[in-house]
Point group: C2
Chain length 245, copies 2
DNA sequence: TAGTTGATGTGGTTGGACCACATGACATAG
DNA sequence: CTATGTCATGTGGTCCAACCACATCAACTA
């Protein structure tokens, strides 16, 4: 994309120039997490470009999970630097899945790969594991399907974070988000949700127990079987017509 | 982001509406790879929004590697659907690295993870391996440092593609792109490029040979050592001041 | 026939205007 | 003095109308 960090004499669209300026501010530490960009009008004047171009640049940064735009004044107002790479990557992946250039099966396989690695790497004393245990407790309260799935997401994410690799956690989260729609649709295929939920809960406990025991290999095996089993049972590859590519 | 596929009564920015419309066209197959979006003015009129909003949506899709905008008329003109998820993810990751929210070390570790898996999964008869072999031949011609590195990128990508998982290949490519700048800077730290290049070439051959032998385990071990060794030798974590965060 | 010229259609850019929203200062009624 | 309402201010969100640069193609011309 605008990988031309430097202002080559090459043709460069105006919003790319703005993007470059902002990226430099980020790299140089003049813009930090939680910091606010200059107002659109001010930035436009400062860079001697139109407000339109500034806005296009901000739209891109927003899509990448780097900033959040808020109207009004005070606290939540203005364009603020955030750090949400997962939602950004998730959207991108989801769109490419929509064009059928990233098979859902490949996404699932990648998720298995990353999550297996994560649990095999997780330290038994990682604080995220306590959170994971707490989430399991909530899942025992027989929540509604939607709530159960939300807790499931949080549980798996907590496991991934216990490995201590931010990139793996981020990618895991975005993969999950990219096929969220699929997962929800697939759940409708399940013949007996109650028994499935019961099985999932016990599998979750087994995985967490393996991690807590420091048995990474066992945890990896269990988590791989857990994920693959779910998608197989839900009928990945035999989705109903309205969700089939 | 605009994960609201449906037009909730919630406030929805106009460009998100456009985004949703385009995504639906993609999902429904009305827009296919290589196809062209309606002209900005036409789309604006059709959706009853301003051209500005249409343009903001297109900027986002462009940033995600889903479309490419071209001026003029005829062949390369108009906004056409492409499929370049790697560049998109790469840009996003690079920006988040710039904000120091994704450690370079984590990126390298993730790359090792994915690439190890890829070579252990690669089939010995994958056509990409022939391409990889050809690239190795080119690297023997003692190219300049920049060319060597470009060939190196292509070689590793070919290896990754041999595993047949589009998501893994894509993420690999984007990880590579995200730290491209770092890698180039690190290379300057190398004490003796000629001997390093010689070593890299022989390691490449050993990896490819292991894959061709169908010995995935050996290939994985070799590729992990290869990547980690390079970054260690180049001094990851002790970059010169101008590249240090 | 060969070359030039202009019409057409595309994205790129700009300036200005207005809106919705959130805040804070200020005036006013109680 | 307090509480309430009102208005000025600053933010992003949206729209419009115009112009530019560029690439193609058809019509015209030498």
């Amino acid at each position: 994309m605008w990988s031309n960090h430097i202002n080559y004499y090459l043709s460069m669209r105006t919003h790319e120039l703005v993007l470059g300026w902002i990226e430099k501010q980020l790299s140089d530490g003049h813009l930090v997490l939680g910091g606010r960009l200059p107002a659109e009008r001010a930035l436009a004047e400062q860079l001697e470009v139109s407000r339109t171009s500034v806005r296009e640049a901000i739209r891109i940064l927003e899509a990448m999970g780097l900033v959040r735009a808020g109207v009004g004044s005070g606290k939540d107002a203005g364009t603020v630097v955030i750090a949400e790479p997962a939602t950004a990557l998730g959207s991108a992946l989801r769109l490419h899945v929509a064009t059928q250039h990233l098979p859902v099966a490949d996404i699932v396989e990648t998720r298995v790969l990353l999550e297996s690695w994560a649990v095999s790497r997780a330290k038994a004393d990682a604080p995220e594991l306590k959170e994971a245990a707490r989430l399991l407790g909530e899942m025992d309260a027989s929540p509604a399907v939607d709530d159960f799935l939300a807790l499931d997401v949080a549980f798996h994410l907590a496991l991934a974070e216990a490995a201590g690799n931010a990139v793996v956690s981020t990618i895991m989260g975005s993969l999950r988000e990219a096929i969220e729609g699929y997962a929800a649709a697939l759940t409708a295929n399940l013949p007996d949700w109650d028994s499935t939920a019961h099985r999932l809960r016990s599998e979750h406990r087994a995985i967490l127990e393996a991690v807590n025991d420091g048995d990474g290999g066992r945890a990896a095996t269990l988590v791989a079987a857990h994920i693959e089993g779910y998608y197989r049972e839900a009928g990945l590859g035999q989705a109903p017509a309205e969700t089939r590519p």
